[in-house]
């Protein structure tokens, strides 16, 4: 079919997002769909502008990876008026669910919870001081992953978050903040690190090594996203677990859109992607090689 889809992407702030974009492009090519891509550079207003432009252009469907949950009602209504189905990728919005066709996302709270539960099980009954590297202050995955993790460890009184500071989802901030954690708490007093994404964890791992400790042994490391470098770190024994956030959000979305346009099949309102836990028991080297192709 000669479909044109507009995709309003948040930006390219991380490798994961680059991968999401490149998967979306690959999948579109595979299906013969014309993809109009718009990078919003982290700004909601740019996303809204892009969506309005897509409407003005008369595309067949609109994908949005919303930068924030709120503030979409008006523009979604306009899309609805123009009979253009909207599909949400990787994050949800606070809007009435008849304004969009479906959302393809993971459950970010659940991701955090998986991490918490894994850690609780890994340490058993031992006392454990956790340091937390938060994502960008105020961003929804940071908030959800923090909440989820707290739920995950809620049952175990022996787990305690002693320090929590933002590392902005970046490697270098992850490293810097971890350094200060190591000084402020004393490396030997920290039993585990929970990072809201793998990039920060990878940075923090270097800080731990430079402090003369063994990441993965002296300090357990668990993070979220399962980017290739995290698999590598797990394979090297420097990281213990990561929870996957698949970059293939567009694939299921294309499927749903094509079906809907073909015969009006309504997809479920939430297509949840799997939040798979990877640990040392997986073949991380192989996964690394495989994921490397995806444009992370």
């Amino acid at each position: 079919a000669d479909l044109t889809v507009g995709f309003s992407q948040i930006g390219s702030e991380s490798g994961w997002r680059a991968a999401e974009t490149s998967v979306a492009k690959l999948e579109a090519e595979k299906r013969g769909i014309t993809l109009k891509f718009a990078d919003a550079q982290q700004k909601q207003e740019n996303q809204i502008k892009a969506i309005r432009s897509f409407i003005a252009q008369g595309v067949d469907g609109i994908f949005i990876a919303p930068v924030v949950a709120t503030g979409w009602d008006e523009v979604l209504e306009e899309a609805k008026d123009a009979d253009i189905p909207v599909l949400l990728l990787d994050r949800k919005v606070d809007a009435s669910d008849d304004l969009y066709l479906t959302s393809v996302t993971s459950d970010t709270v659940y991701e955090g919870k998986v991490a918490g539960e894994w850690l609780a099980e890994a340490v058993g009954g031992a006392e454990c001081n956790i340091v937390e590297l938060q994502g960008t202050t105020g961003s929804s995955p940071a908030i959800d992953r923090k909440n989820g993790f707290e739920q995950g460890i809620a049952g175990s009184d022996n787990l305690k978050i002693v320090r929590s500071q933002t590392g902005d989802f970046t490697r270098s901030q992850g490293k810097v903040v971890m350094e200060s954690f190591l000084k402020a708490e004393g490396g030997e007093n920290i039993c585990a690190l929970y990072a809201h994404n793998d990039d920060m964890a990878v940075g923090a791992i270097q800080a731990i090594k430079e402090a003369g400790l063994k990441p993965g042994e002296d300090i357990l490391v668990v993070a979220i996203d399962a980017v290739p470098d995290a698999h590598l770190a797990i394979a090297n024994g420097e990281m213990n677990a990561t929870i996957e956030l698949t970059p293939n959000m567009a694939g299921p979305a294309y499927d749903a859109l094509e079906k809907y346009l073909a015969d009006g099949t309504m997809p479920p309102k939430w297509i949840q992607t799997e939040s798979r836990l990877f640990t040392a028991s997986d073949d991380n080297n192989a996964i690394y090689e495989e994921k490397k192709q995806l444009g992370y």
Partner: protein, 330 residues
């Protein structure tokens, strides 16, 4: 009579018309009320903030805090409407008072402590965003029905474009801004400061009150822009509008205002905003640029506009000669 002083304005206007024609030629859909309406609606908050920025830049200053103030305003409104029962209009008034006072305070620091505006407003930028974080890190939806009432005010053009209230607010701001800048004593004082603060002082321009008022206007308009932004998104979010100050500065500069102050037009800023909006629209219509090419192209176009302006200014300046004007005494 067309004076050479109006040239930058005409250049900007001409640039916009040519650019629009070129875009519409490539993508005919751009020539529609929908796109026109979008340009107004989507850039409303930026336009309003840019009016304030125009005043600041005309006076030879700079205000880096506006993006943060917009975010703060949104969060403040959202939180206060969530947690209290006060009417949005009262909340609007309250937030405008706060942001205006904030701007005035920055102006006072700049003037009385003789600190560079760049640095004072940089600290203001940290402070306002920090305050927004402290209020709420979450994005807070605004559900008050008065907001929906305001959002539902629009005029739908036959071909589908919706001209919304906030676009109107922006136009009104531009008109008032232009009158204040070009038709009042205060406006003249702003230009005078931009021409040289020390000289303006010797000529009797009250620097203190002018500086304070300029930054109060910028703060207040950033507040208004924040209100418009909250109407635009029905939410307050502390991470919103990062870097808007740079967009505003770019719009002001493209609009023909000299960053060193003293020369420029509020109306020019309006076309600056439209040009920037057009660039974005064009990039989305094209839809084939990757994230990085988007940035490079935006930078390149910015450069092209600056160069175009430089070239035109240069072309008109040579050729013009000075006249002594001294009449021969008899």
């Amino acid at each position: 009579m067309i004076r050479t002083t109006h040239l930058p304005l005409l250049v900007t206007l001409g640039t916009f018309v040519i650019a629009f024609a070129l875009c519409a030629w490539q993508y005919p859909a751009i020539f529609s009320t929908r796109v026109a309406a979008n340009l107004l609606t989507d850039n409303a908050f930026l336009g309003i903030a840019a009016v304030g920025m125009t005043f600041v830049i005309l006076s030879g200053g700079i205000d880096l805090s506006i993006g943060s103030v917009i975010a703060f305003t949104g969060v403040f409104l959202a939180v206060i409407l969530r947690d209290t029962n006060i009417h949005p209009l009262a909340a609007f008034a309250l937030v405008l008072v706060i942001t205006t006072a904030f701007g005035a305070a920055m102006g006072a620091v700049i003037h009385y402590l003789e600190m560079p505006a760049f640095i004072v407003t940089l600290a203001g930028m940290f402070l306002a965003r920090g305050a927004a974080y402290v209020l709420s890190t979450d994005s807070v939806p605004i559900t008050h029905e008065f907001f929906s009432t305001l959002q539902d005010i629009y005029w739908k053009a036959p071909s589908g474009g919706r001209f919304r209230l906030i676009g109107g607010v922006m136009l009104l701001t531009f008109i008032i801004g232009a009158i204040v800048a070009h038709r009042t004593k205060f406006g003249q004082n702003v230009f005078a400061m931009g021409g040289g603060a020390a000289t303006a002082r010797l000529m009797g321009v009250p620097l203190a009150s002018t500086t304070i008022r300029i930054y109060a206007i910028s703060g207040g308009l950033a507040g208004l822009s924040g209100i418009v932004f909250s109407l635009y998104t029905s939410a307050g979010y502390s991470l919103a509008t990062v870097g808007v100050e740079l967009d505003a500065i770019a719009a002001v500069v493209i609009g023909g205002t000299l960053l060193t102050g003293g020369y420029g037009f509020v109306a020019g800023t309006f076309f600056g905003i439209l040009i920037m909006g057009l660039i974005q629209t064009y990039i989305v219509f094209d839809g084939s640029l990757s994230s990085w090419w988007t940035k490079i192209v935006i930078g390149g176009l910015l450069f092209a506009f600056i160069l175009l302006q430089k070239g035109l200014t240069w072309a008109t300046r040579t050729g013009k000669r000075q006249s002594t004007g001294l009449a021969t005494p008899s």
